[in-house]
């Protein structure tokens, strides 16, 4: 794989990611947004691959596309169907929002491009790092790993608890 091919593929995925992300944001239809988000996640996952993080990319696809996005879609469906309203969203703060968007992006980019100390070091990650991830998870990051597991469990239980249907009189009290 030549550098040029590599580059073209990178730009392709970059454009996919950004365009779909833009669509997520600017689309008026929630359903469209949700589906557009699918492409964003995929694009991001591809970029992960470019960043030698294939395991993360896989995880991204599994978790985001398989979990979060489904969850989102389910939420969209769930709420809209009941309300029977249009699947469109209004916007507010469009002017300050735009200004801030432009400003923050500009500022970030300015920072990135003017900061020269971020020159990549010689020691880069190459190839698959799955093994190293496993190694790190069980050594240095075992405690965060365990905490995240518990957190995830708690979050799932909590979510289930929050989302369950209560009887109307109970909610009022």
């Amino acid at each position: 794989m030549s550098n040029l091919t590599y580059t073209i593929i990178f730009y392709l995925f970059a454009v996919i990611t950004l365009c779909s992300a833009a669509f997520v944001v600017f689309s008026k239809n929630v359903i469209y947004s949700a589906f557009s988000l699918l492409f964003t996640f995929f694009g991001v996952a591809a970029l992960y691959v470019f960043l030698s993080a294939d395991f993360i990319a896989v995880t991204q696809v599994v978790v985001y596309v398989g979990g979060i996005l489904v969850l989102l879609l389910f939420g969209v469906m769930f709420t809209k169907s009941i309300m029977n309203t249009e699947m469109q969203t209004d916007v507010l703060h469009i002017v300050p929002g735009t200004l801030i968007l432009a400003g923050i992006i500009g500022a970030l980019l300015y920072t990135f491009y003017t900061t020269h100390t971020w020159m990549p070091s010689n020691k880069q990650l190459y190839g698959s790092i799955v093994e190293r991830i496993g190694y790190e998870t069980m050594s240095h990051f075992v405690l965060p790993f365990e905490m995240v597991s518990i957190l995830l469990l708690a979050a799932l239980i909590g979510a289930a608890f929050l989302a369950r249907f209560d009887k109307p009189d109970k909610t009022k009290s």
Partner: protein
């Protein structure tokens, strides 16, 4: 095209910046709670990109591991957030966050 060829750190950072900006914009301007959640996911992804990019170009594993945890947390967040949204919907009969202004009182 020559200058495009070496894909460096800045490319990823640029993408992440745009992603972050879009996510932020969604959070700021969208009335629909679910779209806001989507914006949050975008922001998290932008962060992930950054972590991984820096990790790659510095050769450390910290960024990789962090991105992994972020993904986990994002999942948990999404679950909780959706539960909340559903609860909000149950109470206010709407997911329009602009109509939810009980904090005003």
């Amino acid at each position: 095209m020559e200058h495009l060829i070496p894909i460096g750190l800045n490319h990823y950072l640029t993408i992440s910046a745009f992603l972050f900006g879009f996510g932020l914009f969604a959070v700021m301007t969208r009335k629909n709670a679910i779209v806001i959640l989507m914006g949050v996911e975008l922001i998290l992804n932008a962060a992930n990109i950054n972590f991984l990019a820096f990790s790659k170009y510095n050769g450390g594993m910290g960024g990789v591991m962090f991105s992994l945890f972020i993904i986990v947390i994002a999942a948990a967040e999404a679950a909780i957030a959706l539960a909340i949204v559903i609860n909000i919907f149950k109470i206010f009969k709407s997911v329009d966050v602009s109509s939810i202004d009980t904090m005003k009182e």
